[in-house]
Symmetry: C2
Subunit: 120 residues, 2 copies
DNA sequence: AATCTTGTGCTAGCTTTACAGCACAAGCTC
DNA sequence: GAGCTTGTGCTGTAAAGCTAGCACAAGATT
């Protein structure tokens, strides 16, 4: 469905979360202002703020009131192995013309295999 | 947050989509009835039906009115390589204590690297 | 100290989505 | 053909989430 432009607080949350944990946004790096993000994605300020709030609750970012929002020190720690596996999966899927959403569905299914199971 | 029990049409859609494309539900295999699924997940029938409708639109399942719903022939075709990469990623993430939701966020971020980019 | 920046909080209204519960239609089974 | 199974459709109701726009507080900047 989408994959280009987030349109809800959760999606914006996930977008930055991914950027941080994948290292695209490094330690201490500054995020766009709430207003800017709201404008970029065409959502209300309250929606962007909500996403930032969620990220802060999880310790991924630090906000200081007039100094903007920055990636929390040590937040971008996702082991390189994970990132590389993610990249490999992305390439394999795109090569097989499988959409991002479908790839995520597969990942979810595989994830369950090693813990929970289908109610079946 | 969740990861155990889907609570919306989209999530039920994704659950079965993943089960099918990952091969957990094979060609021709029967899905639970709409009523059963609604009951299992504690949602309204209309919600489960909506998910099934979406899956059918995408050609993943075939519904025949009194004979139930089955996986469409040839729908479970997700290249083995993709599934294996997904499994590898799942293991790496779980080993690093990274949640499913975070792993998905990372995957999304990595996905974009090879096509779109952050609006920045 | 004055001013600009930026995160936060609020209200009211709208849209989307799920719920409950039932009725119906198509078709399988015996 | 009778009856059960199962997907579909309908109604009205309720809850959740987003929008828009503004006001405020904390702090950076000059």
């Amino acid at each position: 469905m989408n994959g280009a432009t987030p349109s809800s607080a959760d999606e914006i949350d996930a977008l930055f979360r991914g950027a941080i944990r994948s290292g695209q946004l490094g330690d201490g790096e500054r995020l766009p202002t709430v207003r800017q993000t709201a404008h970029d994605f065409g959502v209300a300020q309250a929606t962007a703020a909500k996403a930032y709030k969620s990220l802060e609750r999880d310790g991924l970012i630090v906000t200081r009131t007039a100094a903007g929002t920055r990636v929390a020190p040590g937040a971008s720690r996702a082991p390189q192995a994970v990132i590389e596996h993610a990249r490999a999966l992305a390439e394999a899927s795109e090569g097989a013309l499988i959409s991002l959403e479908d790839t995520i569905a597969i990942l979810r299914a595989v994830w369950r295999t090693e813990a929970t199971r289908l109610p079946r």
